[in-house]
Each structure stands twice: as C-alpha cells, then as structure tokens.
C-alpha cells in the first residue's frame, strides 16, 4: 500500500507541476485574509527585483489600494490584520531594492506579526518555495479551484472585477474602530514604535530608497480621532523633510466600517495616489 500511495503522490505532484507551469493560471486564488497576505508576500519576495519599482507598506487600509493606476512593478505590501513593520521587514529580509517605498501612517503603533514573517522566510521552506512554484500559497489547489470557478461565474455574468462592497456601513465594526481610535498609546509605547520606524526608514535610505509617508483616508469622524491626529503629528515632527501625502478629509471617502475604503472609493483614491506620485 505504501509504495502504491507514493507512486500516486509522485504522479499527482508531477501533473500539478506541469499544470501550474503551462496551465496559464492567472486568476485570483485568494482564499482568506492571511492567505491573501502570504500570496502578496511571496509574489514580492520571489518576484523580480525592479530598481524602478514602488512598494507600498501598510495595514489592511492600504490592502485596498488598487495597483491598476500605478506603473508596472508596483507592489502593495498592505497586509490585512498586520502592520507597516511587517512590510518594512519584508523588504529588508528579501534584499530587494525598489526605487521608492510608501509607508502608511494610519496605524503606526502596531507590532509586526513574527509568525507571519517566520512563515514566509522559514529556512529550507523559503528556498523550496522559490524553486518550486507549486509550493507557493497562490498555487494551492483549493484556491486555484475557487479562482477558476469565480472566473467562470464572472465570465458567465459578464461582470467586471470587483463589483463593489455593500454601501451599508457595519455599525458593529464602526463602534469597535471608534473605541480603538479614541485611545492613544502611552508615551513609552509611542517612543518604542517611532524608534523602530526611524530605524526602518534609515535602513531603506541607506540603500538609496526614497521614503514617502502616506495617510490613507478613513471616515471624517475617525480622521479627527485622537489616534489619527497623534499619528499625523508624530510623522510631521519626526520626519519633517519627507514627503507626506494626505488627502483633505471629506465625506466622499466612503468606508465600510469607518476605516476601510469601500471598493469604488478605494479605486478613486488609488487613482489620486498614483497621479500625485507621478
């Protein structure tokens, strides 16, 4: 039984390798948030190093920035549920040297996720995944199956990618975000994170990378919150010579929960950001 099982296993691996190599699988295979984070991370670390590239680092707020309006080679390391420090560490550990890094300033006071970074850079597995694409997160058969079905359904319905979120704001999440944004971390916690940020910026600039700060629009109400105000202040104080891209608070930045831009609004903001950077 063992020998026959191993034979079937080998045949499946060979067949799937061929399918991934020649099967033209280019649809979205994301299964859930952390899987989406891994896919983005692996696309970045295993992708070609482009010296003219722009990389966005951020949280789930930047996650919604669409790259269609940006030049080819732009990467979005805005990870749902994670922090800017995950993206910064990823750039450093991957050894990549893009031309410019955009750092989201909305959620500066959040620790990186060690487990996530360790999973991406796990010794042995990292090298294996680099050499064998079927081991990468984006090629998981369940995601490929879902992507294929979704693509088929989309073609059948003739709809465009991303038909939009519900415009109803989640009051439950809005409440919870209000609570989060009303509090400012202690001075020592702020110093800890700002020290880390300063170090990250210094490392990037030492490698000749331009650093630009970006405040992603959120709801008017949360824009005026204690946390948002303090975050803006510390960036202006600590990094006075850096470009800091902000949009004026206005009611047309629609969000789904006070924090995350609704789909069409995210598209609009992405266009504005790409245009401003040009």
């Amino acid at each position: 039984m063992i020998r026959r099982s191993l034979l079937i296993f080998t045949l499946l691996v060979a067949g799937y390798m061929a399918f991934i190599k020649w099967g033209d699988v280019d649809w979205d295979t994301t299964q859930h948030q952390s899987n989406g984070n891994r896919i983005k991370a692996e696309e970045f670390v295993f992708g070609k190093d482009r010296p003219d590239a722009t990389v966005i680092v951020g949280s789930s707020l930047s996650f919604r920035i669409e790259l269609d309006s940006f030049p080819n080679g732009t990467s979005n390391l805005g990870f749902g549920g994670l922090s800017i420090y995950d993206g910064l560490e990823m750039i450093e550990r991957s050894g990549k040297r893009p031309a410019r890094v955009l750092i989201e300033t909305n959620l500066l006071f959040k620790e990186p996720d060690r487990a996530f970074l360790d999973a991406v850079f796990a010794p042995g597995l990292y090298e294996l995944r680099r050499a064998t694409p079927i081991l990468r997160e984006e090629n998981q058969p369940s995601g490929v199956l879902f992507g294929w079905l979704k693509e088929g359904a989309k073609n059948a319905a003739g709809t465009m990618k991303g038909s939009g979120d519900s415009l109803a704001v989640s009051t439950v999440l809005l409440e919870s975000n209000r609570a989060i944004f009303s509090a400012v971390p202690s001075d020592s916690a702020q110093q800890h994170f700002l020290g880390r940020l300063k170090e990250g910026v210094k490392t990037l600039e030492a490698r000749g990378i331009e650093v630009v700060f970006v405040e992603v629009p959120i709801s008017d109400e949360l824009m005026q919150s204690n946390l948002a105000t303090r975050s803006r202040e510390v960036v202006a104080e600590r990094f006075p010579k850096h470009r800091f891209l902000r949009v004026a608070p206005a009611s047309h930045w629609l969000t789904t929960d006070g924090l995350h831009l609704e789909w069409n609004t995210a598209q609009r903001y992405s266009g504005w950001l790409a245009g401003t950077l040009r």
Binding site: H32, N35, S142, L173
Partner: protein, 468 residues
C-alpha cells in the same frame, strides 16, 4: 514544538535512527526520555523543571505504594493523587479562582499571573493513573508489572510513560496499565509500517489540510465580526468549526498514534468516527476516548457510577461531565459545556430507564443528525469563552436571516474543507460491510492526501487541545 514543524522533524528523525541502532538498544528508553525533554523544553525551557518535579513525585509515590511499608500504601497513593491534582489546580485553575473570587486584590493579581504550562492536564492525569494503577496492583493481576523494583529502571520506565513526546502535550491520555506492560526492547523489523504510514498520513492531512484551512474561515466566529453575518453563514461557520475541532484533535491523536507505532508502542485510539453517533453516550464512547474512559475509570466509577441507580447515577454523570468540562479549560464556559453534556447524558439515561427510547421510532440518520447538531451547538462554548457572546451568536443565527452579508467565499471554503471529514465518516459507515474495492481505492486516497499535505496545507497553528 509542533508535530508539523521543521524542528520536530529534525528531532524525531535522529531519535528514530538512534533508537533502532542495534548496539544502542539498551539505551532505547534513555533516548526517548532525552528526546521528549528536548521536545518539551524547546519553546520554554523552564517548563522542564515542572515536568521533572511531576515525574519525581510520581516515580517516588508509585514506587512507595508497591515496595514501601505495607501499612502506608494508601497514604502514599493518596499523596501521589493529591500532589498531581495540586499541581494541576495550582497551574490551571489559579487564574480562574483569582478572577472569580479575588478580582481586585493582590492575591487575585498573583493568581491570574500564573502561566499555564502546556500539556499539564495530560501528564498530571497520567500521573494519577500511574499511582492508582500501582495501588490496584495488589488486587488486579495484570497491573502487577507496572512498577519494577530497581529504582533506576523504574525511573526510566515512568519517565518514558509520562514524558513520551508522542502523547506528552495533547494526549491521548495513556493509562499506566496500558502503556507500561509494552516497555521492552523494540526492533526495527517489528515496526508496523502500514499502520504507522496510515496514522501519520491521515493525521497530518486532517490537521494541516483540513483543520488549518478551516481555522482561517472559522476565525469569523469572533465577537463582534459575526454579528453582521447572514444566518446561513453563521450556521455554516459553526458546522465548519465542528469539522475543524474534530480534524484538529483527531488529526493530532492520529499523528501521536503513528509516532508511537514507529517507536514500537500502541496507544489507545482516541477517536472512533464520533459524528456518526446516534446517542450522546455513544458520542462519548467515540470522542476523546482516552479522556472519557479515564473519567469513567478514575472518577465516575469511584463516585459510585450507576451502582446506586436513579438519582445517584444522574448526579454522578453530571458531576463527571462538569469536571471533565473544567479539565478542558479554566473558564466557566467549559463547566457549562460539561454541564450541558452531563444534562443530555442524564436525560438520555432517564428516558432509557423510563422506557421512552425513540431508538426504533425514528430513522438512524435522524438520531445522528440530532446528536451532531447538539454537539456542534455546544462547541460554541469552546470557540467563544465569553458566555454572552455565545448567546449573541445564537441570537444572530435567528435574527440575521435578512442581512445582506452572505460571504460566499467563506461558505465555499468551509464546505470544501469539511468534505474530507464528512467523507471520512461516510467511508467508515460504508465499509462496515467488507468492500474489496477499498484495497484499490486506499492507496489512491493516501496518495491524494499526501499530495494535498504538500501543496494545500493551511497556515500553521497550534493544536486546539494544546491549550488544555
């Protein structure tokens, strides 16, 4: 250290090789004990101190029970059980006691700061089993060989029994009279490769492909995220969590069994297709069998079991299940979970005593579905330790029928990754009458599982039962 981590692989492979080197055979127990200590100390070395202290207590008391002064046997056994329970209560229940009874005082602060050492519920229970079995050795002939006279040999045997890495941190809860008689020199040619392979492949598949992928979907059973979701999504998520908890724990147990097989030991099957149960008592004969049989043997029967009939039986059932619930975690929600199971077991028993059995009146599938639904509903108490959130979840199931948030992606993946668990149970039902075709199908199924372990594993996560 997780069974599905690279460090574990780097530990277990050299251990396996050393273990079977012919001229080192007399050091087999030493090898297992050292590897188990490394395994346990890997993430938090200080924990080893606790394990060693626990081992010392059990080694000393079990030896004294058998070879000490005849007049004090009972005292030694009582001391051994009390010491194990003391360690368990101190480390596991201090935070609960602190939160519940001393919420604002310094004592409460101290109690809540006590960390929970991984695996403590398992190795203290095995310690109790050792001391009790050693005590019973005078009456039960088969238990005679549990404790040997030589102190060093006894130390090695007991250390292997309690600390063996295959079952140290999340079971199965191995009983002394089942494990210790198996301690002898093991030979490479004696390995049952087919069983080892089958247990490891199914175990890793259930854990890495099914449970780890489901956990990223069932994450949404978190307050307050679930409050906005459609009823169908909420029911699907709950169903998925039921599949996940089975895949996680049954997967872990199968890996433990497979590893034990590789080292020449046979551990008790911990799961026997529990979701086909048609009664709650059958469920408990099929779910976490090592714990339920432990509770039956060392708690329910000593409490009197069903010997005094009627009220006493129901009381003993409820008490056993509440304590069993609290064994899972130091939170009142676990006690409520145990109480729920105690209640349904007692009601089932009462119905049987009164001759109200519905067994022949409804199809088997209806009984199965009913037990599954009730068990699944009770898992909410595991996922949401705050009881008010459990109520909010159940309320949302009934009230959110009209909300727009259906989340097709979650529905798709929960159902997709639940298929293997459903198929696992259905294949078992189907093969209860011999099916020769299975000989051809099995290697294909194992090949597919191996392939999916390689290319479709979910994000690594601790085993749910590690927290217990």
């Amino acid at each position: 250290m997780l069974f599905n981590s690279v460090p574990f692989l780097l530990l277990v492979l050299p251990t396996f090789l050393l273990y079977y080197v012919p001229f080192l055979q007399r050091f087999q127990l030493h090898t297992l004990v050292v590897a188990s200590f490394i395994f346990y100390a890997y993430n938090m070395p200080w924990l080893l101190t606790l394990l060693v202290v626990s081992l010392a207590i059990n080694i000393a008391t079990s030896h004294a029970v058998v070879f000490g002064d005849e007049r004090h046997r009972r005292t030694y056994a009582t001391l051994g059980v009390a010491a194990n329970l003391g360690v368990l209560i101190f480390f596991k229940y201090s935070p609960l006691i602190g939160r519940s009874f001393f919420p604002t005082s310094g004592v409460g602060e101290f109690l809540t700061s006590i960390p929970l050492p991984v695996g403590i519920s398992f190795f203290t229970f095995q310690g109790i089993s050792l001391v009790v079995d050693a005590y019973r050795g005078k009456e039960v002939k088969e238990y005679n060989s549990i404790v040997v006279k030589g102190v060093w040999e006894h130390t090695l045997r007991i250390s292997t029994f309690i600390a063996f890495f295959a079952q140290l941190v999340a079971g199965p809860v191995v009983k002394a009279h089942e494990f210790l008689p198996q301690v002898r020199t093991k030979y490479f040619k004696g390995i049952d490769w087919n069983s080892t392979f089958a247990c490891l492949v199914v175990g890793y598949f259930l854990k890495m492909v099914v449970a780890d992928n489901l956990k990223d979907q069932t994450f949404w059973i978190t307050f307050p995220y679930f409050r906005d979701m459609h009823s169908i999504t909420l029911i699907t998520l709950l169903f998925g969590y039921s599949m996940q908890i089975f895949a996680d724990f049954a997967g872990y147990s199968l890996i433990a069994l497979g590893l034990a097989h590789a080292f020449g030991y046979v551990l008790m099957d911990n799961f026997n297709f529990p979701y086909i149960s048609t009664t709650f008592s059958e469920f408990w004969r099929r779910w976490h069998i090592s714990l339920s049989s432990f509770l039956r043997e060392y708690l329910y029967i000593p409490l009197g079991g069903n010997r005094k009939g009627g009220f006493h039986t129901y009381k003993n059932l409820m008490l056993t299940m509440v304590l069993g619930g609290l064994w899972h975690g130091a939170a009142w929600s676990y006690a409520i979970w145990g109480l729920f199971h105690g209640l349904v077991l007692a009601m089932e028993r009462l119905a049987k005593d009164l001759g109200w059995s519905m067994k022949d009146k409804l199809p088997r599938a209806v009984h199965m579905l009913f037990v599954f639904c009730m068990v699944t509903l009770a898992w909410l108490l595991f996922k949401l330790p705050d009881f008010s959130h459990v109520i909010a979840y159940i309320r949302a199931i009934f009230s959110n029928t009209g909300v727009e948030n259906l989340q097709p992606l979650i529905l798709f993946f929960v159902l997709l990754f639940s298929i293997p668990v459903v198929a696992y149970h259905l294949i078992y039902l189907w093969t209860r009458t011999p099916r020769p075709v299975m000989a051809t199908i099995k290697p294909i199924i194992y090949g597919i599982m191996l392939f999916l372990i390689l290319v479709n594993s979910g994000g690594g996560a601790s085993f749910i039962y590690f927290q217990f």
